[in-house]
């Protein structure tokens, strides 16, 4: 229909809808007018008034049918019927309020269980970035054999920006992990996190600052010239109390004064999921935040720290952009063989970035969603079972309606309306449950210096999903009972109060439901058990070093504007003085401790004498920079050779200690000791391997053994370091003496992240898994509870239906044990079938979890030995209670039942 049409039709529809009585009255009046005219004409033609009236009515062909026809052309009857259905359904549900309440609670649990996982999927995978037309924004990545998600260097970024034509703009950003911020020049700096962005960042993303302005293109051109900063909305709110006069003010970042030129809008919380940057500054200011003074970020083609994104032109396809970038990567390789050999580039969509293979979070959440949907399925089958038994008791009512001429489709609609109301109420309850679950997720605190944003929230998107699930479950729960309800045999249905068609067909549906419930909850329990065992196994396997009696603190002398010599001096004095402090057994400086939040740096190298594959220039391994106290303090055994020593100074020959995994990897048949590797490429600095250390856990307690490399700090100085001290007593007692030492060295030096190592370990390695186990365990428990209720309901229902039959059997001499066997037998068969199917599903889930979450292979027999019999016992108990009641039926009463 054309839009101009709606001008006429919409008011008419609205009128029919909201002025129903008026419309009906006009309809009557119109016909009345016609009839009166016709009668008058008839009388004028010589008929008697009575005859004239009959003739007029006859000409109408059935007045009421005509009226109905006229109502139907209003095309709103589907809606008015629905309103009628709702009224009726509410009345009928109120008659059975107990059952209705049970159904609502069951659905609330089922739907609520899905809200939290969906909010996680939404946050991590689905929720669009907070910019206009987010789907046009793609990420450009540099790729090698070892990684498909590398960043680009500044020079590469400039080339990409200049030479590509598929984009409306190419932007680059780099994280500034920890920056010392002070609002006033004199104040002690606090740690904040910001982003270095290209001058076109806000413009290309389509983000308009709410105050002041964004960057000008020329503010990103001259290194170190334009000290301007745009504040993030949260930062502005918390640090400046949303002061509109902030534009033009000066703030101090790592000792440099920056002028605030704008504030990003409320909606723009940044392009990151877990982190909202506090401020943005031009890339040209990068040098003063450099973590590695030997690298020149703006010049080095291989300093790939930038996240490059671009907005695809409307006229360009992703395919075009991909081939364009591939050509450019080839050019790079030809022009800069030193930096870009066997290095490609790829365009990735936001979805591809979020579901990258090297990130375990989203995989866990996908498993989580599958499990929560299984709980919802159990809830739905349970409700379907309840509604089925309800439909049976209403068989007579339905038979009567059918006999009076109700359409079967119309009746299905009525019954579905009832389940729709139930599931909407359930959905509301579910939202409350989900709200609680998401709140619980929000309480999980991550011990990072920078505030980590928990992105899970109950927003409209999650609400809509819950609502959609409610409607879906209404159909799942309601359709089977509705279909069965209208299949009623009219004659039988009207004749007896307890219409039961002989045969098994009727119960078939319910039996399937029970089997589905038992098997699904078995799967859920297995999953939660496996998850608990998997994490426990990871923890039990050990991390390879002693985590107790360790205190840690981090320092970053750049926060107080130390130069390299001052930094070196500071760390030297700090280590010396800490080591002689009473209570300190040993102390070590390192770039990163193992199992912490910060990622280790990677290093490219070529092992000497190793036959490199033809297509690669070098290998990558993760590494740490350490001092001579490291291995002793951490308690990591040196298997062969020696540890890093104090004599490995900047002037001494370059050395490294590798872990056993590394040694076995590259020199499987000979000793790695004395072998050399070259850093970066074949022509790089030679480094001798002087020791082999035991392999420990580096990133997560569940990781596979990985290659790892240690090099002396003295030969590769960095500014930001972690001091780890092994104490003889309580490690926290060292806090004060260490603070005193730092204060005597420099009263302005901030001491960051002072905590026991065990504390850090608990958060990183134990808390996350604990929450996961708790959530999956809750799901398993809820699933089991629902399955028990379902089985109990089925058996109880069977007993009540067969009361008379059982009475007859007992009157004829059956013992109560016979009855018990009769009733239990059925439940046993169902539980047995459910168990078998559940086992199969459990194996499937185990495979899935093994491949996605844990490195363990094979089948965890213990899980099944514990889960299967306990489930079997509990469900049999659910069947036993009503069965026992059946066996106590008194025949004389039972036969008088009706």
């Amino acid at each position: 229909m054309r839009p101009q049409h709606w001008l006429y039709t919409i008011p008419l529809r609205l009128r029919s809808l909201f002025r129903r009585r008026r419309v009906e009255q006009e309809l009557n009046e119109e016909l009345q007018f016609h009839l009166e005219q016709k009668i008058e004409q008839g009388i004028a033609n010589g008929l008697s008034p009575k005859e004239a009236r009959y003739a007029a009515m006859r000409a109408m062909d059935g007045l009421e049918q005509r009226k109905q026809e006229m109502r139907e052309v209003q095309r709103i009857h589907w809606l008015t019927d629905f309103v009628d259905d709702v009224h009726y359904a509410i009345r009928s549900l109120r008659r059975t309020s107990g059952l209705a309440a049970f159904v609502v609670v069951t659905l609330a649990l089922g739907i609520g269980m899905t809200a939290a996982p969906f909010s996680m999927v939404d946050a991590l995978i689905l929720r669009p970035r907070p910019v206009p037309h987010p789907s046009n924004v793609v990420t450009l990545v540099s790729t090698t054999h070892d990684s498909s998600f590398d960043g680009f260097s500044y020079r590469e970024y400039l080339d990409i920006r200049g030479k590509t034509k598929s984009y409306d703009g190419v932007i680059a950003s780099g994280d500034l992990g920890a920056v010392g911020f002070s609002a006033e020049p004199g104040a002690t700096p606090r740690i904040k996190g910001g982003m270095l962005v290209s001058g076109n960042y806000f413009h290309v993303l389509g983000v308009e600052p709410q105050l002041g302005r964004g960057f000008r293109q020329n503010e990103d051109e001259v290194p170190g010239r334009d000290a301007v900063v745009v504040l993030g909305p949260d930062f502005w709110k918390h640090e400046f109390a949303s002061d509109p006069g902030v534009v033009g003010r000066t703030i101090r970042l790592n000792g440099t004064d920056f002028t605030v030129i704008g504030v990003a809008p409320e909606t723009f919380t940044g392009m990151r999921i877990w982190w909202h940057p506090d401020f943005y500054m031009p890339l040209a200011m990068a040098q003063m935040f450099s973590t590695n003074p030997q690298k020149s970020f703006l010049e080095d083609r291989d300093d790939r720290e930038l996240n490059v994104q671009a907005r695809l032109k409307r006229s360009a396809t992703l395919q075009q952009a991909r081939s364009e970038l591939a050509v450019l990567a080839n050019d790079f390789e030809r022009e800069y063989p030193k930096f870009n050999r066997s290095r490609g580039a790829a365009v990735r969509t936001d979805f591809e970035m979020r579901t990258r293979g090297d990130d375990g979070n989203w995989k866990f959440i996908v498993v989580f969603v599958i499990l929560s949907l299984a709980v919802l399925l159990v809830a739905c089958t349970n409700v379907a079972g309840l509604l089925l038994s309800r439909a049976r008791t209403r068989m007579r009512e339905i038979a009567l309606r059918l006999a009076l001429g109700a359409g079967r489709f119309r009746l299905i609609r009525l019954l579905l309306t009832e389940s729709l109301i139930l599931s909407c109420l359930g959905g509301l309850g579910g939202i409350a449950v989900g709200y609680g679950a998401i709140k619980f997720l929000g309480t999980f605190s991550i011990p990072s210096e920078l505030p980590v944003t928990i992105p899970f929230r109950l927003d409209t998107r999650v609400l809509m999903a819950s609502l959609a699930l409610s409607v879906l479950s209404a159909f799942l729960c309601g359709l089977a009972p509705a279909l069965q309800g209208i299949r009623v045999d009219l004659v039988n249905g009207l004749k007896s109060a307890d219409a039961d068609v002989p045969g098994r067909k009727r119960l078939w549906g319910r039996n399937v439901l029970v089997v589905a419930q038992v098997s699904t909850s078995l799967m859920l329990l297995t999953a939660s058990f496996l998850m608990a065992r998997g994490f426990q196994h990871n923890l039990l396997e050990g991390i390879g070093f002693a985590k107790d009696h360790l205190l840690m603190a981090s320092f970053d002398p750049r926060l107080v504007q130390y130069n390299e010599a001052q930094t070196e001096q500071f760390y030297k004095l700090l280590a010396e003085r800490v080591r002689v402090t009473p209570g300190v057994q040993s102390a070590a400086l390192m770039q990163n401790p193992p199992l912490a939040l910060e990622a280790f740096e990677g290093v490219a190298f070529v092992p000497d004498g190793f036959q490199m594959p033809r297509d690669r220039e070098n290998f990558y391994a993760t590494m740490d920079l350490i001092d001579e106290g490291y291995f002793g303090t951490m308690g990591i055994p040196i298997l062969r050779g020696r540890a890093i020593l104090a004599s490995d100074t900047a002037e001494a020959p370059r050395v490294a200690v590798v872990n056993e995994q590394f040694a076995k990897h590259y020199w499987p048949d000979s000793d790695a000791l004395g072998k050399r590797i070259r850093l970066y490429n074949r022509a790089g600095t030679p480094v001798e391997i002087v020791g082999v250390a035991q392999t420990i856990k580096y990133r997560t307690p569940g990781e596979r053994p990985m290659d790892f490399l240690y090099m002396p700090l003295a030969q590769h100085p960095v500014a930001r370091m972690v001091l780890l001290m092994r104490s003889t007593g309580d490690p926290l007692q060292l806090v004060k003496p260490v603070k005193d030492i730092v204060r005597t060295l420099d009263p302005n030096m901030p001491m960051l992240r002072t905590r026991t190592y065990e504390d850090l370990y608990r958060y990183n390695a134990v808390e996350g898994p604990r929450i996961a186990i708790e959530m999956v365990g809750t799901m398993g428990a809820v699933g089991l509870l629902l399955a028990i209720a379902g089985l109990y309901g089925l058996v109880a229902y069977n007993v009540s239906r067969r009361t008379r039959e059982i009475g007859i059997r007992m009157a004829l001499g059956a013992a109560s044990s016979d009855v018990l066997r009769l009733v239990m037998g059925k439940g046993l068969v169902l539980v047995g079938m459910g168990t078998v199917i559940g086992l199969a599903m459990g194996f499937a889930v185990e495979q899935l979890m093994n491949s996605m979450l844990f490195n363990a292979g094979g089948v965890d027999v213990l899980a099944y030995i514990i889960v299967v019999p306990s489930l079997f016992l509990v469900t049999m108990l659910a069947a036993y209670v009503p069965a026992r009641r059946a066996s106590r039926i008194v025949p004389t009463q039972a036969l008088r039942y009706e």
């Binding site: 101009q4 049409h5 001008l7 006429y8 039709t9 008419l12 529809r13 006009e26 009046e29 119109e30 016909l31 007018f33 016609h34 005219q37 016709k38 007029a56 000409a59 109408m60 062909d61 059935g62 007045l63 049918q65 005509r66 026809e69 006229m70 052309v73 209003q74 095309r75």
Partner: protein, 111 residues
């Protein structure tokens, strides 16, 4: 039976639109005019007239209005609106094309 079987589907709509194109009318007057115009060839019962009128109204081709009749009684008057006029033109063109074609075919068979 709401429509005589020989009244081709859609023809009643066309007739009603055509009648209303001349002047606004109430249902009763339309029924008289139908009889008068088509003689006894096209039998349109009173019963099928009103649903058809309401359908046209809901489709947006004709607009209804309550007005006084000549002898001062309230009645619902229907009139053709702009969209209805366009629709009528289109339908009329369709109709003549169709009837020409059909009579052509019929004559062919006779020859």
């Amino acid at each position: 039976m709401s429509k005589p079987p020989d009244l081709v589907q859609g023809t009643l709509d066309l007739l009603l639109l055509k009648i209303l194109a001349l002047q606004p009318m109430n249902g009763w007057a339309i029924s008289l005019r139908l009889k008068q115009l088509s003689g006894d060839v096209l039998q349109v019962s009173d019963g099928s007239l009103y649903p058809a009128l309401h359908k046209l109204e809901q489709e947006g081709w004709i607009t209804a209005e309550w007005k006084q009749t000549e002898n001062n009684r309230r009645a619902k008057f229907y009139s053709l609106n702009r969209l209805g006029r366009q629709h009528l033109e289109k339908e009329t063109a369709n109709w003549s094309r169709l009837s020409t074609a059909i009579s052509h075919v019929v004559r062919l068979e006779e020859a």
